[in-house]
Symmetry: D2
Subunit: 363 residues, 4 copies
């Protein structure tokens, strides 16, 4: 039975690194979650011991949920979490990668299932890099983690980089239907992805920055793993070649990607649209609470998608696509958009956790 349903009690969860941008999104999205309830929030040494209300530089456009505002921040250790909430099997990590490098493994070792938004373990051989509509079968990799040997209950699941998610959601239906061989991607990324304090205002008024450190590498590498074929504890990387150029633009939320793709065979534009329009995956079939009804939404307006108008489709969990047309160099060009701090971070991680619960791997 699912937690929180049919009389079952909700599953207590912890949020590691709860005060930052992504942490705040976890708080907002989990505040009324039907399955999970926030049992513990952690923060850095500097903030531990303070109430959440005082320590978090709150920048969401909804108020801090009352129950959360008064919670006392704990240090980011398994012991501290266990002292506050006894039977919490699941922790969401909103830690930045330096902190995640150090702090996530101890939680996994202590029996927690860590669902992480950090890049630290994404490319680890035995850690699934999950987009639930795209590669739910990779979840099986969890059983191969050392944390699970000898009956352990812990482990690490990861969520891709915020710009990768929109890319693989738009690609997956094409990969399945026609194959995808080459992708040329230029991103126009929102600044919320840069965290707080993030980019100084001075740089992004009447300006853009055509560079985001480390981002192009992630966008070129992560799709190989996510789109790869899983068999017996091993993921065979998908051979797609990706060229990525990443830019930061004065937009708050919503990453826009201008894409050109070379497909595995010649197909009509109608076939491409059909592939997107009919696409659903495991989260839709399992009716997971955070799953959008249609993960890829095709927009017809000639100037869509646009970040402010379309980032909230499917409560921020859907990718939108538009402007499909032939490419003089590859096969097709189009534009895709997804919400970088919902689908591309906290919301995506929560959907991973819902998948894990629904498949019985959270013990």
């Amino acid at each position: 039975m699912r937690p929180g349903e049919g009389g079952a009690r909700k599953m207590p969860v912890a949020i590691l690194g709860a005060t930052g941008t992504v942490g705040q999104r976890f708080v907002t999205l989990l505040a009324d979650h039907p399955w999970f309830e926030i049992g513990c929030l952690t923060a850095s040494e500097r903030s531990a011991g303070k109430r959440y209300r005082e320590a978090a530089p709150w920048i969401q456009s909804v108020p801090i949920p009352e129950t959360v505002a008064a919670m006392t921040l704990q240090p980011t250790t398994p012991e501290a979490v266990a002292a506050v909430v006894a039977d919490c099997p699941l922790v969401f990590s909103a830690l930045d990668s330096d902190a995640a490098d150090q702090l996530e493994a101890p939680f996994a070792a202590a029996g927690y299932l860590v669902v992480s938004n950090a890049k630290s373990h994404r490319m680890d051989r035995d850690v699934p890099l999950l987009v639930p509509e795209v590669n739910p079968e990779h979840l099986a990799l969890l059983e191969y983690q050392s944390y699970r040997q000898g009956g352990g209950k812990g482990g690490i699941l990861t969520n891709p980089n915020c710009s990768t998610i929109g890319l693989v959601l738009a690609l997956k239906p094409l990969v399945d239907a026609f194959g995808v061989e080459q992708v040329h991607a230029v991103t126009l990324q929102a600044l919320s992805g840069a965290g707080v304090p993030g980019v100084p205002s001075f740089h992004l008024i009447d300006n853009l920055v055509p560079y985001i450190g480390g981002e192009e590498e992630k966008l070129e590498v992560e799709p190989h793993k996510i789109l790869g074929r899983y068999e017996d504890g091993v993921i065979e990387p998908h051979p797609v070649r990706v060229s990525a150029q990443c830019t930061r633009v004065p937009v708050l939320d919503g990453h826009t990607l201008c894409l050109s793709v070379k497909l595995g065979r010649e197909v009509s534009a109608a076939a491409v649209l059909e592939a997107w329009r009919t696409f659903q995956g495991a989260p839709q079939r399992a009716r997971l609470p955070s799953a959008p009804e249609w993960p890829v939404q095709v927009l017809d307006a000639p100037d869509a998608p646009q970040p402010r108008l379309h980032r909230d489709l499917g409560r921020g969990m859907a990718a939108s696509v538009g402007r499909l047309r032939p490419c003089p160099l590859l096969d097709y060009r189009f534009v895709t958009l997804s919400h970088n701090t919902i689908r591309g971070a906290a919301g995506g991680a929560i959907l991973v956790a819902e998948l894990a619960v629904s498949q019985g791997v959270v013990r």
Copy 2:
């Protein structure tokens, strides 16, 4: 002898459509020009008869030049211009394309050399589409225009689309040194290119628009002509294949292009940089007043070029390039930037006029 030099008097010029964004740039750039002096300003029926100060919705960050502010706007006809300034051989057209379709040819027929920023005649077989550093030899096409038959002095010269200019300036040194076969371009274009009123604020606060009507076509077609080979009154189009995706971003001035190119042969990055760094053309050799010393400026910072920081290099007449690196799909990727209303519009047209004067085709 050059006008305005060595005691020679300046050449009077007219500006057609002087009240709009591009017209205002012409006014600003010509106010202290060493060769030209503004003799006449024209506007639409609605504004003709008013003083420039009253009719122009001035949006430049320098005040309207005093001498210009008091000028009375004329209707956009050769007769009206001739009535105000007798010996004016040259007119700059800042007309929008609907107006230019109707109004430029009569000026050429009446003996004026029209240097136009409108798209109306750019692709006409006998009209040069000029970037003076790139294809000065195309100027010879002027003699083949009907306006020049039988001793006529008129004619039409055109300036490319604002996003094309940065592209061809960055490509030309590579075309000359190595050949260029394919170009993948995604543009992040400033909103001043959209004119006034242009894009409503509502669309570009916390947003971008991944579509600019007609722009991708221009960017894919114009380079063929500009980079083409001229011989005996005919331009053989250059065979480069261009894929363009154009977006509008919340930047005031300065078009940024993310480019990937396939070159004619394998070369080192050092060779590419060297080609850019040593590039100069006819305007530099002829020391034209508006020519930047170096038309392509290579920037070393990892996050350059940026519109606000670099659009004014070479007084807005240089293109800047940065972030050269290999492309997993084509050969090299880089970012280029140029000022869309200076080099990409009024300033570019003035440089065309300077080239024409220096080569003796303004009679």
Copy 3:
């Protein structure tokens, strides 16, 4: 019994001028309204006959409600509305004032109760200018309108200017408790208030405009009427003196007002805060569907309120106040914020309609 409650059917309503910014907000807010259902949408001649989906330049961040998208736009006449929906007693006017000058009175004469967001009739002697928490008793003025003579059911109710609403909501508790004699107001207004196309982007990137035509006059005059005392069909204007300076800033939604006030007597800051914190009015007592629980929300953060963070409080229907401190010239200074297209336009008008229904004046 209230419409839409306890088995009663919803009341059909029409929206006049449904395609603009305010019209779109009406559509969004009425799509799931518990009492009202959209029966008819009207537009200008140019758009009448088209489907709403095709004619409205939709700029909301939620999609057009499906049922509304397919509706055919009608001309803005009582006959056209009656032909589509027979028993519709209530129309919301999102017309601009030029159209409203001509088109609202015929609806009132034809027996419709018009709830208008336009300025056209706001200052008419017999038209209530309503903020339901502030002056619900002014509703009685409706009976004195010519439209109601001889048993007519029509009439006109109006909603104040978008910047007036935040002002009077913040002032009302102080007026009641201490009296208010002078108000110095500087507004920093969002650009959505300027409609579509509204302010060109060029003016509001890296800029602000310290002028909004006609706005200061409204802000100085409307409070006299709204805060005035009603007796026997006459409103005695409140004598408060208001000095207003209005500016347009690069914010999408949410008008911020920097206020200094001279009160009727000396009071402590604590008393002012208490007056705001305990303030509720007729809409709260009647539990109207659009009424916020607390119409004035006091924020404690030293840098609050801020438009993006606080404009949505009370689903966009609450005013927020912050930064209360003594003023060296008058008595107290503070900052207030309200959502200009929800509370300040469509939402405010809907609350007026709810008040009218609950008091039985919609027949």
Copy 4:
């Protein structure tokens, strides 16, 4: 004789804290100064020893001057400066106030005349707070500083807060002509005043912040001193009462002030305009190199001044005023604008230094 004129050599100067926003402005403005030449740049411990090019996060829209780019940053001590440039009598301080508290006095004690943009010593009894058009006679206070006792050559001169300068420039002509008793000021301040990194982008896209820590106090206090009467080493504070409310808006440069004033006597609007239009001061009479011809420029357009359009008037050294009209509460209302990092910081300090040189107090 003035330095740099008539064959005299330029005066070498140092810039303390040269890598920040204000330091960069000093570098830009002094690069081609007719009197001064940059002899030494200092920075924090962390940056000392590096070349300026490497250590300064350059954000100006003109390139780093070549001669400066290669200079090696020194520690901020008199000894370090003296080791690099022997005969430098003048240092400009762009230090933040924490650093200035510690580091400026040692320079003054070592015989340097420090012209500081920091708030540290502004309100010291014996330190002039100078706006050269407003209170040049306060320069005499320098002789009363301890640094000057016993023949010392050092001392400290200060420049007001960036928002104060526009205020006192606009007020001074009115103070002289009519007297000013009360001022109500609401500021809309640019973000460059917040330094680098300054305000995170996240806070100022689609938002504003109605609070700037410590700013209102400065704006309420500094005018008393600047407008005060100097006699025999003492400044009698001017009794004007100022109420200030400061906000941060998404503008890069240029502080806009909405002002209401109560004058000493009843005057016509024409008289006010005349007072502004004819105002000139010591810098204009002495033809100081950085002095604008007219320090207060009256703009006639109904929507002027605007930051992007008018901040550069007088090369960023003039204040502009517009929208003069009666105030229902005080006497007159108007809007004033000045460039916060030129006139309000580096440029203002340079003008102070020019005044000091021209009056012979730099020894």
